[in-house]
Symmetry: C2
Subunit: 516 residues, 2 copies
């Protein structure tokens, strides 16, 4: 057994079953060991941001980490922006980053770089293995670090000689730290606050938005009149028919401030106090209304499900009837022009039960978020860290974690270009993912932002940086080129036909929805 | 005038004329200012590795820095691997990275990250502006840092308020440090060594491989019998007909060791002692033969052109006749199977004089490097830092710097997928770039590496990480989808026809050369 095999077997022993990767020469022993460790499933991405984004999506759906395999500093660097998003999603990930053999480090060869330096801004845990004999134990520590609540990024640097030298053993998994529970005094404090009957918002994120925790929140709301609100970009939430509806904090700070106006008590459930996404001249950054009391039920690393259950008991809401979403008829003529709203309506109509929606539609979907709730029950995944190029990769990993669920990616054309390579992995793994590209031929959100920041100009210089229409991206060809059957829809009727057909068949599809 | 305008005008005053970028909300004042500062040409890339790679290519051809405009930490992160390559190319680049307004920093908003942390591993100079009133001066300092010999990466972080607040002035350019000359004693020392008549290699990189410096090296070689050798991946060299031929240090360490065997004196001209690209079990990393003396004519930051000229005088070689490349007839039947060699031959046949070749063909071009020298005179650009996904972006920037020169990018399919978005910028800017994709449907170099590192297996697990054939990438569709006329060639005849046609017309083209 060499170090690579010890590493792989130790990862498997710690319940890591999937490795998304794009290896290079320094990772060849790891690659070779994949044939000796069949319990590890290798999944290739054609650029590392696909790899890391897929690991994020996998973690969100599987609730446990995948490994990534990255080639030296540049391979890690290519995947950093989706690791940034994963960090903001609290997704557990174990990065394995190859390095030059330790004997080679002194030469500053062309591919040498400060790998730990690249890793630190996105990693909660960074370690460079020093010996093949310790690499298995290092892997177990990396998995434990990644699984620390609420989910962390662990980066293990693997010098080539620690992969090729002889190793002794497979490391046993480390015990996980028990998740912190909110103690009785916290429950009592929050329950008393809730019983005061003031205007209250429960701001929720993480496990609070799933399963029984969400139902408990619904009962608390029914009993106390509190509003249920989630972060604008929660990593994952359950929505649609029969699910407890949760209001979304608006994206723009001034809208969020208006939305929260009058709130007297803000209870944080795995969330942090709301702040605006960006700063603007003369607009607020801190969004909690003046005079509003903030109290914490759970910090992000604490167990929101247990706390909500206890809180439900404490406010005597177990028997309360939580409000749930009922679907309404959608009034849509198929003769009108295709636009973002009609696309959202058609998606909501046809979305199958238990599907997954991954949203990076930005200016095309933010205004139509409620329309998408008028659908069969589904999981909704958001772009958490604001680094575009996330959700096509997240879908890819979600498809590996949840092969029996239909996945719909909603993505703007600007975003879709960032990790367009995701489509190829979706084709290769025959994932059941339908990508809807909102082809508005521009970074439309930025045209709005240009006005919002009070910038005076919108001339050709600015347009050169914001317009994608010259030349127009031909998404049908791009999808086809990457192995995904692709269709272009310019009308509501054509989009409905293509989308309904994609819902009825298994396998990757792309629909370019032209909404110029 | 606001800070953004002061910044842009100060960059222009320091002779920065092009800004490759992909902005976001925090950069909107900079974008707006582009309409007030017409002397700055904005060029959009659809992913930041295109942006930074283009800045590298621009610098290699223009000999001066472009600016990049990047959106916060993730935007910088997406461009890091090509900044790694640019750093290895000693290309001067000024990165402008937007940041949240300083008032917003305390909130740890979703897009907040450690920007300086991302920047440091690739940057020689990092600074975060603190005021709109100093941002112009900061820009001048950044340009001076970038232009410090031999060319550096300077990263200026621009909090949004330093762009939108009122500014006072445009900064004057800073004086550049004079380039260090090798002093007389160095010239004497190297000349004496050369005159000893031992087996000598001049290992050259940087300015030594261009223009009069290259001619001087040729004369020195003619006079003294020294071999002229360049680094395996020199950033830029002049090759082809009538140019002084320079041997290339072989890629694989054991080949390089064999190539240098018997060398008694190694003279470094802007180069560093040769080391292998990767480490392998039981193969050498340090490639200078045992007992060989190493002497330095110029370090990378010193003036190799001046030193070679002085050395030419010192060894009395001014009147010597430098050997130059004469083209030979190429014996190629158009009836044989299309393969990497025949592609290189056809490229060499049709390459127009004064063109630029950007090479990331890896396993397809490394063995045929000499064939490509049997061509009209041209500049040859290499992947310097080993991070794949470089040269299509480098070509894009070279096309902006040298709009009147035909550019041919030779790229493997694995590499081409990395920054495939480059094609769109080539189409948008109507650059005269022909991309030849060697479609061998795999990371072929890694199949070789798997054997070289002594890894035993080549089973389905390993293949899952190395094979690109399932599904096959359809480059004709991909090119078309990104706005570049694209053709597929499966035979020598078809390739020759497509390539000759592309040489005869101006504008971007892609040719998928299928060599399965």
């Amino acid at each position: 057994m060499n170090g690579a095999e010890s590493l792989l077997k130790s990862l498997v022993a710690s319940d890591v079953e999937v490795c998304f990767g794009n290896p290079g020469t320094s990772e060849m022993h790891f690659v070779a060991a994949l044939d000796a460790v069949k319990e590890m499933r290798p999944v290739l991405g054609l650029q590392e941001n696909v790899v890391t984004g897929a690991a994020d999506g996998y973690a969100r759906m599987a609730g446990k980490p995948a490994a990534t395999l990255l080639h030296l500093g540049p391979g890690l660097a290519n995947g950093l922006s989706n690791l940034h998003n994963a960090r903001r999603a609290s997704s557990p990930i174990v990065n394995i980053v190859g390095d030059h053999a330790s004997s080679h480090a002194r030469y500053d060869a062309p591919l040498a770089s400060d790998i730990a330096g690249f890793a630190r801004p996105v990693s909660d845990w960074v370690h460079s293995s020093t010996s093949a004999r310790s690499v298995g134990a290092d892997a177990a520590r990396a998995v434990a670090a990644a699984r620390s609540a609420p989910g962390q990024i662990a980066t293990l640097i693997l010098p080539a000689d620690t992969a090729w030298d002889a190793a002794e053993s497979v490391a046993a998994p480390l015990p996980l730290l028990p998740r912190m529970h909110a103690d009785g005094s916290t429950i009592d404090r929050v329950a008393s606050a809730l019983k005061r009957g003031v205007k209250t918002v429960l701001l929720m994120r993480g496990a609070a938005l799933l399963g029984d925790a969400l139902t408990a929140a619904g009962k608390i709301a029914a009993k106390t009149g509190a509003r249920l609100v989630c972060d604008t970009f929660a990593p994952r939430l359950e929505r649609g028919e029969d699910r407890v509806p949760v209001e979304r904090l608006p994206y723009f700070g001034e809208h969020a401030a208006e939305f929260l106006a009058g709130t007297e008590l803000l209870i944080l459930v795995g969330a942090r106090p709301p702040v605006s996404f960006f700063a603007y001249p003369d607009k607020p950054g801190w969004l909690t209304p003046e005079g509003c009391e903030i109290t914490v039920l759970t910090h992000p690393h604490e167990d929101s499900a247990a706390a909500l259950s206890a809180l439900m008991e404490a406010v005597d809401a177990r028997g309360a009837q939580a409000r749930v979403t009922r679907r309404e008829a959608i009034a849509l003529s198929l003769d009108g022009a295709l636009d973002a709203k009609s696309i959202a309506q058609i998606v909501a109509m046809h979305l199958p039960v238990n599907s997954i929606v991954a949203d990076e539609g930005i200016s095309s979907t933010l205004p139509h978020y409620e329309i998408l709730n008028n659908a069969a029950s589904h999981d909704f995944l958001n772009l958490t860290g604001g680094a575009i190029g996330s959700m096509m990769a997240v879908s890819t990993g979600a498809g590996i974690a949840s092969p029996d669920r239909k996945i719909v990616t909603l993505v703007g054309d600007g975003s879709a270009m960032y990790t367009v390579q995701s489509l190829w992995t979706q084709a290769r793994e025959n994932l059941d993912i339908v990508t809807v590209v909102f082809a508005n031929r521009g970074y439309k959100v930025l045209n709005n932002e240009l006005l919002r920041v009070g910038a005076a100009s919108n001339g050709p210089g600015a347009a050169a940086m914001l317009d994608l229409g010259r030349p127009a991206l031909d998404w049908a060809s791009i999808g086809q080129g990457l192995g995904v059957p692709a269709f272009r829809a310019r009308s509501r009727r054509a989009f409905e036909e293509a989308f309904a057909a994609a819902m009825a068949q298994r396998g990757p599809r792309l629909i370019e929805a032209v909404i110029e």
